[in-house]
């Protein structure tokens, strides 16, 4: 059958903390993930400072058709990274889709006070924040961020497999700027329910490859009782729209 076209909102690449270099190139990894286009979380962002990961991300992204990078976001006042406004000028050239919040190794809570200047700039420039919620950082921070920056675009991924609509749905309802990556939301009936409650334009296909099988989310969306237009929105159109003004004017 014809391959389903996707723009993956979250796949992973690179050398993990205390791990080995990947055997495959980014292009080969994307091919295995069945993603013509993908926003890639480079794992080195978790253990190398931004001044070293930014050139690495830019270089890998430049070499790989269809890849879009993310830069780690830290408070800019200590001087570890340039101000957001300055960095944003390079986004289109370097195919950077937005900023990634990677709390674990950098000892900074994602409380809005810590990132007031950065989130204000992202809000003003429509730069998406990719917020990955794992066992440590909390939804409460995200709610506080959205209260203070209601126009911020947030791509939310949640490393919590148990059905968690009790947490996700109130956030989605309260803050229309949040879009949801689907690779971890594998609850029975989730796609139809999410589309019914929030529409298809806030849902993003993601694979979390290579940790997860890409076919899982593909099948969930492909087999859902939603319209073809909804499926196209989820598979690739929403991601195109989300970063259209930043890195992907040529889409």
């Amino acid at each position: 059958m014809e391959k389903i076209q996707v723009f993956d909102a979250r796949m992973l690449y690179g050398r993990p903390y205390l791990g080995a270099e990947p055997e495959l190139t980014l292009a080969e990894t994307m091919r295995d993930a069945e993603a013509e286009r993908a926003v890639v979380v480079h794992r080195e962002m978790g253990w190398l400072p931004p001044c070293r990961t930014m050139p690495m991300v830019a270089e890998r992204t430049a070499k790989t058709e269809g890849a879009y990078g993310l830069y780690l976001l830290l408070p800019t006042q200590p001087g570890e990274m340039p101000p957001v406004e300055e960095l944003a000028k390079t986004f289109k050239r370097d195919k950077i889709a937005g900023f990634y919040l990677y709390q674990e190794s950098f000892n900074v809570p994602y409380h809005p006070t810590m990132f007031r200047d950065e989130f204000t700039a992202c809000e003003k420039l429509s730069i998406p924040i990719f917020y990955h919620r794992d066992g440590k950082n909390s939804f409460e921070y995200l709610a506080e961020i959205m209260e203070r920056h209601p126009k911020l675009k947030v791509v939310l991924s949640v490393n919590e497999e148990w059905p968690n609509a009790r947490k996700i749905y109130p956030l989605m309802k309260a803050y229309p700027g949040i879009s949801l990556c689907l690779s971890e939301h594998v609850w029975m009936g989730a796609i139809e329910d999410l589309v019914e409650k929030f529409g298809s334009k806030r849902l993003l296909y993601s694979s979390s490859y290579p940790a997860r099988y890409p076919g899982g989310t593909v099948m969930m969306v492909a087999a859902a009782n939603i319209t073809q237009e909804d499926k196209q929105n989820i598979f690739y159109k929403n991601m195109e729209a989300l970063i259209g003004g930043i890195a992907c004017d040529s889409l």
Binding site: G189, Y213, M219, M220
Partner: protein, 279 residues
Amino acid sequence: MIRYDSPLAEEFLTTGKCESCPIIDMHAHMFDNAGCNMLVDTTAKQVAQMDKNNVPLAFMVSHDVLYGGFPYMEADHKAAEAFPGRFYQYVGVFDPDCDPKRDIDFLESHKYAVGFKFHGDTYGVSIADPSHELYYAYADERKLPILFHTWCGSRCDGEGEAEKVLRKWHNFPFIAGHSFQRIEESIELCKAYPNLYLELTAVLSKRGMVDAYVKAGLSDRILFGVDAPWFSYEFGIGALLSADISDEDIRNILYRNPLRIMKEANIEIPESLKKFVNE
């Protein structure tokens, strides 16, 4: 990779189900749940999901029985009766209040009750505890399936405790729910104990595990389940379609292996599945 060239993938991805490849769900629950909400929270909704993906049959025990014990068992059976031939019931062995005679009586007097479910971690009681001997003896004599929650390293239902049970009982299908969450240990145990089956709930969310089991020659020892109504059948099917395994392996997992277990245990095979028994 997604095996877009596979006939199974084409049918599943375009219609959500495959007529020639029914699914027997060996690890299901039922109803709503306090710990996290179920979008599919009634038996009717669960059956609708099963129909959507051609799941003619599920083996289940409700959350209520797992957390509340025997008083909720009758409601599970009534749910099975309301949809004849769609559900078989595991009798939940509720520790520390287990009562083998009462539970076996229940199983013998209820048409859709066909096996047991143990959840050692929930009760803090090892599955190898001597209080379970009567259940195992009863199931072993009849080759009835027993579904165990199994989790790596657990002092209640990890590999070590499972081996204590497997060393003694060689006939009942020991269904390791979640496959211990460990690849090498699961494979070693399977090779040592032919009545051990690996079940895929929470396994298919980690890329590589099922590939390793099949590569180790265990395609005929793997069973499908998704903790329904927790997780989506579609997610599980899609994961299998992008694992490094063949369509024949997928057929083994989705219906051939459970049918073999049912046949050996003399569990009545629903009409819709009879044509697949001799594949």
